[in-house]
C-alpha cells in the first residue's frame, strides 16, 4: 500500500562522522571532565550533512496536512484559517523579547494588552472578570471548577457532585473528577438538548454545579437554556460554560446573559492562534463579580494612570501557571479582536453557522442526520446506513476522504451518535471549497454503496495506507531501536 514509500528515520541516514555543521577550532585549552563523569560510549546521534538534514525535514513537512494546505473540517476543534499578521504581531521584539520579571513600569504596554483583552473577553462572555493564566482549554476547565469549589467552600460546604450531559467533551468529567467531584451524567432528549426532567431529578443541594457546552457537541443550541440555568441556580448550584464552541455564538449571545457563572474560552480555537500541533494554547476563565475574589493571582488592574499586577486577593485559589499565562497567544487574540471589531466577530460567528448549515443540508441526502434541525457552527451525521447496508464504517469513509484531499472530520464523537461524523466547516472557507467537500462526501457515500471494497481499503494515495491503530494501541513501540 505504499505509493511513495516510507521516509527513513534520520538515524538510518547519513554515515559515521558526517556533520551538518563545522565549528572553528577552539582558541582556549580543552577542559577534560573527570573520568567518572564521562560516558563510556558516545551517544548515537544522527550523523548527516546539512543538505540531508534540510531535505529530511522538508520532506516530512510536505507530508503534513494542515489548514495552510487544505480544508480541515475537524468537528469541535474550530480549525479555521488564522491570518499570518497575528503571528507577526506576536513576534514584535517589544513583546516577544519582554522579560517576565521586568518591573511593572517598564512593561506597561504588555500589561495594557492583558488588561484590555480581559475587558474584551468579559464583554463577549457577559461576565465581570477574567483570568488569563490557564494554558489551554482543559486547564481553564479545572480552574473554573476549582473556583466553583472555592465558592461553595466559602459557604461552608463544597458539595459532592457535578452534573454533565452525555454529549459533553471528555475533558468535562475528567475535570470534575480531578477537582474532587463525583460525576453524574445527564441524558440528552430527542431534540439533542439536556433532558430537563432528568436534570430536575438530579439537581439537589449535593450538586455543586452543571458543566455545559452551548451549542453542544451536536452543534445544537439548547432551547431550554433559561429553564436549565434556573433549575441549577434554584438549588444553589453554579453553571459552568465550556467555551469550546464560542465560535458559534460570539456577538450573538453571551453565556453570562444565559445565566452562566463561569466560562472558559479557547483562544487557540476562536481567537486566531493556529493549533492542532500540540500548543501552545490559552484558556482564559471569565466569572461573575461574586466569584471574582477567588480568581488566580495576579490580575492586571488599571487605576486610571498605570497598569499593575494585583496579587492582593486573599481568597484567591492561588497561582495556576507561571507568570501571566501564554502571553504570545494573548497578544494574537488581542490583535484579532481589535482588527475584527464587534461587528467582525459577530459576522465570523454568523458565517460559521451559515457554512455549517449549508454543508449539512447538502449532505443529509447521503447520510443519516440524527438531529434534523438548524445547527450552529457544526453538525453530526451518522454512517449507520452505510454500516448496516454496505458493511462500510464511518472510519472507512473518513479514510477515503483523504484520497479526495480533505482532512477527515471528527469521527465516533459525540458518543451518543452511532458511527458519528462531526463536521465543522468554520467561517474561513469559501463556497467553492465547501462545494468540493460536499461533492467528495457524496462520492464517498456512493462508493460505499457501489464499490465498498474501495472504501474499505482507503486511503490509497497517502504514503502509507491503513495504519493498524489497534496494534499501535495494544503493542505500542515507542523506540526506534
Amino acid at each position: 500500500m505504499l505509493s511513495q514509500g516510507p521516509v527513513p528515520l534520520i538515524f538510518e541516514m547519513g554515515a559515521p562522522g558526517r556533520r551538518a555543521f563545522s565549528l572553528p577550532g577552539g582558541d582556549v585549552p580543552e577542559a577534560v571532565l573527570p573520568a567518572g563523569l564521562r560516558r563510556e560510549t558516545p551517544p548515537r546521534l544522527p550523523e548527516v550533512s546539512e543538505g540531508e538534514l534540510v531535505r529530511h525535514f522538508t520532506t516530512l513537512s510536505n507530508l503534513n496536512f494542515g489548514v495552510d494546505t487544505g480544508f480541515y473540517p475537524l468537528g469541535s476543534c474550530t480549525m479555521k484559517y488564522n491570518p499570518k499578521v497575528f503571528e507577526v504581531v506576536a513576534r514584535l521584539p517589544g513583546l516577544s523579547g519582554l522579560h517576565p520579571y521586568l518591573p511593572e513600569e517598564l512593561a506597561q504596554g504588555a500589561l495594557r494588552i492583558i488588561h484590555e483583552l480581559e475587558r474584551y473577553l468579559a464583554e463577549i462572555a457577559g461576565l465581570a472578570r477574567v483570568t488569563m493564566q490557564p494554558a489551554a482549554g482543559a486547564h481553564g476547565e479545572l480552574v473554573g471548577v476549582l473556583l466553583i469549589r472555592a465558592y461553595h467552600e466559602s459557604r461552608g460546604n463544597p458539595r459532592q457532585k457535578i452534573l454533565i450531559p452525555d454529549s459533553a467533551h471528555g475533558t468535562n468529567p475528567a475535570t470534575a473528577a480531578m477537582a474532587g467531584y463525583e460525576v453524574v451524567t445527564l441524558p440528552s432528549d430527542a431534540r439533542g438538548g439536556i433532558d430537563v426532567g432528568a436534570l430536575e431529578k438530579a439537581m439537589d443541594d449535593t450538586v455543586a454545579g452543571l458543566m455545559l457546552t452551548n451549542p453542544n457537541t451536536l452543534g445544537l443550541f439548547d432551547e431550554n437554556i433559561d429553564v436549565i440555568t434556573g433549575l441549577v441556580h434554584g438549588k444553589g448550584g453554579l453553571l459552568y460554560y465550556d467555551g469550546a464552541n464560542a465560535n458559534a455564538v460570539m456577538g450573538y449571545s453571551r453565556p453570562g446573559d444565559m445565566g452562566f457563572d463561569v466560562v472558559h474560552f479557547n483562544l487557540h480555537k476562536t481567537f486566531a492562534t493556529p493549533h492542532g500541533g500540540g500548543g501552545p494554547g490559552a484558556g482564559p476563565v471569565a466569572v461573575t463579580a461574586e466569584l471574582a475574589p477567588y480568581l488566580p493571582v495576579p490580575l492586571v488592574d488599571f487605576d486610571g494612570e498605570s497598569y499593575r499586577l494585583n496579587y492582593d486577593l486573599p481568597r484567591s485559589i492561588g497561582r495556576v501557571r507561571s507568570f501571566y499565562g501564554n502571553f504570545g497567544v494573548l497578544v494574537k487574540a488581542y490583535a484579532y479582536i481589535r482588527s475584527m471589531g464587534a461587528a467582525g466577530l459577530k459576522q465570523a460567528a454568523g458565517d460559521a453557522v451559515l457554512n455549517a448549515n449549508y454543508v449539512m443540508r447538502h449532505l443529509q441526502e447521503y447520510f443519516d442526520l440524527p438531529f434534523d434541525r438548524a445547527c450552529k457552527h457544526e453538525f453530526v451525521l451518522s454512517g449507520k446506513r452505510q454500516k448496516e447496508k454496505n458493511g462500510v464504517r464511518t472510519l472507512d469513509m473518513a479514510k477515503r476522504l483523504m484520497d479526495y484531499g480533505f482532512h477527515p472530520p471528527t469521527v465516533y464523537f459525540p458518543l451518543i451518535v452511532e458511527e458519528a461524523m462531526m463536521i465543522e466547516p468554520t467561517e474561513t472557507e469559501s463556497k467553492e471549497t465547501l462545494d468540493r467537500f460536499i461533492g467528495a462526501c457524496a462520492a464517498v457515500a456512493n462508493e460505499a454503496r457501489d464499490e465498498p471494497e474501495k472504501v474499505h481499503g482507503a486511503p490509497h494515495t497517502t504514503p502509507f495506507g491503513r495504519m493498524d491503530e489497534t496494534r499501535a494501541a495494544r503493542q505500542p513501540d515507542l523506540r526506534w531501536r
Binding site: G170, V411, Y412, E469, T470, A473, R474
Partner: protein, 126 residues
Amino acid sequence: MYPENLRYTGEHEWIRVEGGSGVVGITHFAQDALGDVVYVELPETGRVVKAGEAFGAVESVKSVSDLYSPVGGTVTGVNAELAGRPELVNQDPYGEGWMIVIELADPGEADGLLSARAYQELLKEG
C-alpha cells in the same frame, strides 16, 4: 448473538448467574460498537460494588467507556488474561472475554434484569 441463559442491562453488560455468583462481561453489541478493544481496566478482588456502579472501564481505539455492575455484591474474581489479550472481548464476549465474577449480595437480584429477548427489543428501539 445474545444467549438465552444470560441476563442483560441497558448499559450492555451481561451476567451469567451460577449459584450465588455471577460472571459479568459486555455484550456482542457493545464490543461491536466499541470497535477493537485495546485495554480493560478491572477492579481488585474484594471490592464491593452496588448495582449500576462503575467497576472498571474498557478502552477501544475509538473511546473509553465505563463498565457498570449489573448487580450488587463483592468482586471475587477478575479475568487477568484480558491484561495481555484485550482482543478476547471482541473475539469471544460471552466466553474468554468475561470480565469479573461477583458474589451477589441478593441472589435474586439478577432476575430483575433484561432477558435476551427484552435486550434485543431494546437494541431495536435503539
